[in-house]
């Protein structure tokens, strides 16, 4: 199983000090966080894509991910999410294939529609066509990666005549794709149809909801003939804050929780931790809570944690990653490996494994 972190790149004032990082500080901190994630043994770093303040997430994630790829050796780079609606699928095909070469296949990506309304008109799109954009654009993206010579005509983009997307995917193998959605069954269906991964970002949602979306995806994955339902590739979000003593964790995290974007000034920390995957406490409490996720959604392949939001200073985030990578993830990995049946994949397909499967050529990992 893969464990990692995902960021939304929010530039948020630290409610305990009143200090707001500059965009430059936030961007550099993101790189430091990704490097630390690798250092503490995490498997994945994923970044969101944003086009509006207060976010300093990249408008085009490969810009950030290529920089991190150059400074890391092992960690898988991904997105959370890449906007399949408002980006030109041709640019997605080209930019991510380029990243695939630079990172030697150490990347995948997650498609999302984006929930910031004005982004659509800013890029000349109509949010009411969001689902159709996701369907048409992704169908084109796949062709651009798998076919050398594409002649295409659709509804949302200018036609292509004899177009070759460059660079070609590394070793002729397109990047692995996840589809992220919180409430749209159509996106779970899309992921299942193509045999792609499905990621439910459940950090603001009760597990009862997550379970329904994942079950739908699993049923349809089997229906579309990609394997058994329990072999479908599932990822979940998560959110934790840890200290040796759980009381210290609660005391330190509470002001960040109370003022956080999205849920701040609403439910109490205690209510929100009861209803959603947010867990604040000792490392053992985190282990106990996240070890039970598979009881609800089945054995799954990727767990990403949101660690660097709500104004938490870089120093704290790096400490949190030390605890996550040092104490929590090794235990969760052990538990996941012990309970997973042999026929269920441990991770989403990685480039090296897919290359072996393709032509039998062993590669150095």
């Amino acid at each position: 199983m893969e464990f990692g972190i995902f960021t939304v790149g929010d530039v948020t004032t630290d409610p305990t000090t009143g200090i707001t990082p500059s965009e430059n500080e936030r961007i550099k901190a993101t790189v430091a966080i990704a490097k630390k994630a690798e250092e503490v043994g995490l498997d994945v770093f994923a970044t969101g894509e944003h086009h509006n303040p207060p976010f300093a997430a990249p408008a085009n994630p490969p810009v950030l991910l290529a920089n991190i790829a150059a400074q890391t050796e092992r960690i898988v780079l991904s997105t959370s999410t890449t906007l399949i609606t408002t980006n030109d699928p041709v640019r997605i095909a080209q930019d991510y294939a380029y990243l695939q070469h630079l990172s030697d296949g150490r990347m995948d990506l997650m498609m999302g529609r984006g929930n910031t309304g004005p982004v659509y008109p800013w890029f000349g799109k109509d949010i009411r066509e969001g689902l159709n954009l996701a369907v048409e654009n992704y169908a084109l993206l796949r062709r651009l990666w798998t076919e050398e010579n594409v002649t295409w005509e659709g509804k949302f983009r200018t036609p292509l005549q004899g177009f070759t997307s460059t660079p070609r995917p590394l070793d002729g193998i397109p990047p692995f794709v996840w589809h992220g959605s919180i409430r749209s069954p159509e996106i779970a269906e899309q992921a299942a149809f193509y045999g792609d991964g499905f990621f439910h970002n459940n950090i603001f949602w009760p597990l009862s909801h997550t379970k329904q979306m994942v079950n739908l995806y699993r049923r349809r994955y089997q229906h579309h003939g990609h394997g058994k339902h329990d072999q479908a590739i599932v990822g979940l979000g998560g959110q934790v804050f840890m200290r040796k003593n759980s009381q210290d964790a609660v005391r330190e995290f509470r002001p960040y929780f109370d003022n956080a974007p999205v849920y701040g000034h609403g439910p109490s920390l205690e209510e929100f931790t009861r209803e959603t995957p947010l867990t604040v406490g000792s490392p053992q409490q985190i282990i106990d809570r996240y070890a039970t996720m598979a009881d609800h959604v089945g054995d799954y392949q990727r767990q990403l944690f949101l660690m660097d939001h709500a104004g938490l200073p870089l120093k704290t985030v790096l400490e949190q990653l030390e605890i996550l990578g040092g104490e929590v993830v090794p235990e969760l990995r052990k538990i996941a490996d012990a309970r997973r049946p042999a026929h269920v994949p441990a991770t989403a397909p990685r480039h090296a494994e897919r290359l072996v499967a393709l032509d039998g050529t062993p590669v150095e990992v």
């Binding site: 689902l131 159709n132 954009l133 369907v135 048409e136 169908a139 659709g154 509804k155 409430r183 069954p185 159509e186 779970a188 269906e189 899309q190 299942a192 149809f193 603001f204 949602w205 009760p206 009862s208 909801h209 329904q212 979306m213 079950n215 739908l216 049923r219 349809r220 579309h224 999205v262 849920y263 701040g264 000034h265 609403g266 439910p267 209510e271 929100f272 209803e275 959603t276």
Partner: protein, 219 residues
């Protein structure tokens, strides 16, 4: 078949004239159901004790605590009685917030009786200018008579007549629809071994096949 009717009332004071109006409406509805030789349960839900949970749901987007069961009762009721005080020319913010939190199809086809209390009869058109559009947006089926009770109406026989007439309309809408609200939602069957998530109308049992999604995308 016993019909399940739910009244949502948004009065804030204790005792509340909005609750008083609600009780008279539920009593009249019960009487009309009985007159048809049918049975109904009528449950009154006060929003006041749920105020914090309603505000939480506005921020988190999902109901929590006892609000989940309340939303579920409203979604699955055969008919709804919705009563609010008039605040600043309209329904109260608490009343609106409760309905803002519902999924857009949560009240589809459901018979609804709308009623309000006000300081004076000058607010009478609030029911038609504010409450009806709200429930029209949610695709509810609002009965023709709305009941506005101004303070001095509580001493006049005219209020009784309007209550009676609105209750009769609601009951005939409920008894007239063969299977109640469920009829409009045929096909809303939970998948095997799975139930709809409490408080939401999302259905994950059925999905449009991707071939159809692809066809639609570019047509």
């Amino acid at each position: 078949m016993t019909r399940r009717i739910v009244a949502v009332t948004a009065g804030l004071s204790e005792p509340s004239s909005t609750r008083l109006l609600t009780d008279r409406l539920t009593e009249a509805v019960d009487r009309h159901v009985t007159a048809h030789g049918e049975a109904a349960t009528v449950e009154v839900i006060e929003l006041r004790p749920l105020a914090k949970l309603i505000a939480d749901q506005m921020l988190t987007r999902f109901p929590s605590g006892e609000l989940t069961a309340v939303v579920e009762k409203v979604i699955s009721a055969d008919a709804l009685i919705a009563v609010t005080p008039v605040f600043t020319g309209s329904y109260s913010g608490l009343f609106k917030s409760f309905f803002d939190n519902l999924d857009v199809n949560a009240l589809e086809g459901k018979p609804v009786l709308v009623a309000a209390t006000a300081g004076s009869a000058r607010h009478s058109l609030m029911i038609d200018h504010a409450m009806r559009p709200l429930f029209s947006y949610l695709h509810a089926s609002v009965v023709p008579t709305g009941v506005l009770a101004a303070t001095d109406d509580f001493g006049t026989p005219g209020l009784d007549r309007r209550i009676d007439r609105a209750a009769a309309e609601l009951v005939s809408a409920v008894l007239g629809s063969v299977a109640g609200a469920a009829a409009g939602r045929s096909g809303f069957l939970p998948a095997e071994g799975e139930e709809r998530e409490a408080g939401f109308t999302d259905r994950f049992d059925e999905v449009t096949d991707f071939a159809e999604l692809l066809r639609r995308a570019s047509s």
